[in-house]
Symmetry: C2
Subunit: 285 residues, 2 copies
């Protein structure tokens, strides 16, 4: 249980990714999200458990070297085999290239950037197809990209092909989305948060919950901004900063965010990806 043990993980990358999905929902309190102690009205803890189980096949394909798009679409399709709706779409978008990089023996900003830059138009098409399995809250795209609104699903594929857009180019065009920013920036926030988790003490789910509040306080959440606007997003960030380090206050914030319908989901995605990196780097459970 030491903070930054260098013991290699006993698990495969796909297993660590599945475990990261589970640890992420086990950490509590994670204000505004489903966690070990909190369900939302139609989205419950067990939906995340089933989502993690269903994601396994796609994650194993990523480990085996399948194209990012193929592995991601398969993971999302399996994840969706539960009645809660979208549980882990964003986490999987981060995990799949990270699992590819780990399986290739280079889980680092350079290693994952190499995976990102190798994506093709076919990967972009599979990414769009994955949106047909779930309702994902996204911003309207810029005017000149309206044919490429992800909510169009596979209807956007001809336009993708016409313009020859790869998945990394689609991500680079997705301004203001926290997960897309990780893709274009060598997963800087993910690796930074992974090191924070490793440097912390105590059981893994507790570290993850603390990392969640820290990240929300430092960076805010793009899903909150998409759903509620920049003012609410700034306010949520301020409240997280005020509460962090005070267990009782964080627990209150968890009640408040749920009551207000505030769901910092992008922060949960990033912390899940960071948990994966931490597990690969020897965080023990």
């Amino acid at each position: 249980m030491s903070g930054a043990s260098e013991r290699p993980s006993p698990r495969t990358p796909a297993e660590n990714a599945q475990l990261a999905l589970l640890l992420d929902v086990a950490g509590t309190p994670k204000p505004g999200n489903v966690d070990r102690a909190r369900d939302l009205s139609d989205l419950r803890f067990e939906h995340f458990l089933a989502g993690a189980v269903g994601s396994g096949e796609g994650l194993r394909r990523a480990e085996a070297g399948a194209p990012v798009g193929v592995a991601f679409e398969r993971a999302v399709r399996g994840m969706r085999h539960q009645e809660g709706g979208n549980t882990q779409f964003g986490c999987l978008l981060l995990l799949v290239p990270l699992v590819r990089a780990a399986a290739a023996g280079n889980l680092s900003p350079d290693g994952v950037t190499e995976i990102v830059e190798s994506t093709t138009v076919a990967d972009a098409a599979d990414f769009y197809r994955a949106f047909e399995h779930v309702d994902v809250a996204v911003d309207d795209p810029p005017e000149d990209l309206s044919d490429l609104d992800v909510r169009r699903g596979s209807d956007a594929v001809p336009t993708l092909r016409e313009r020859g857009l790869t998945l990394s180019e689609v991500m680079a065009a997705s301004e203001g989305d926290g997960n897309a920013a990780e893709w274009t920036d060598g997963f800087a926030g993910t690796f930074e948060t992974a090191e924070a988790i490793r440097a912390d003490d105590g059981p893994a789910p507790d570290r993850i919950a603390r990392a969640f509040v820290d990240r929300l306080a430092d960076e805010g959440d793009t899903l909150v901004r998409t759903k509620h606007g920049p003012e609410t997003a700034a306010e949520v960030r301020r409240r997280a900063a005020e509460a962090r380090g005070d267990e009782g206050r964080v627990a209150e914030l968890a009640e408040e965010f749920v009551a207000e319908g505030i769901n910092p989901g992008t922060t949960a995605d990033l912390v899940c990806a960071a948990a994966f990196v931490a597990l690969e780097r020897g965080l023990s459970v």
Copy 2:
């Protein structure tokens, strides 16, 4: 969420088995066991999550038709990739033949009995090898079977071979163990409990927690008897019977059992196996 939907499961048998491991630990309160709301001192919730992840490979081998012993030993070895010790050995002993039966298209008392009766001396040897991965609390064997004490691990294999004992014969000789009783009795308790879970209402983890208390009240727990003797086991059963149906009283019982070191683990094993059968038969999550 209806009680006994006949919708076929969207998951494979190995996925349903992994989900059953997770739902079993998510159900609360399960007096005396780790659950969504309770950790024991050195055995925490996340150890069960990691145990379920690590069990996946062995469960997939069972689904693909690997011998019961091979699949079980592999599942236990993967399960043990966490620092909590024995989390799900007993559940896996029940799940592996059930997954085999489900994959063969006959998940019924007859179907699983066919799998049990087809086990060989090699399966028995792998079963003994699996004990080397974990500390499992068991009773002393009868005098004439002391060479076959499971705690001897692979040291017992020559004796197994000499006597030509199959795994089903080893189970039949394990008097007084609840899991072995399921093996020799067509998994009667498992199938009965699965139907109780399906006939109940509400979220799957809640149904599982209620089934746990009912089973403990009706049948007692053989792990409690092994560790604490028949009088304590009878007392535990009586207290479960008194508490059942009263949520507050069951929650108190959870605190009391933990304080007293009472861990009805065999009941948790059976309820986990029953959750698998219920999922295969259409219980939705």
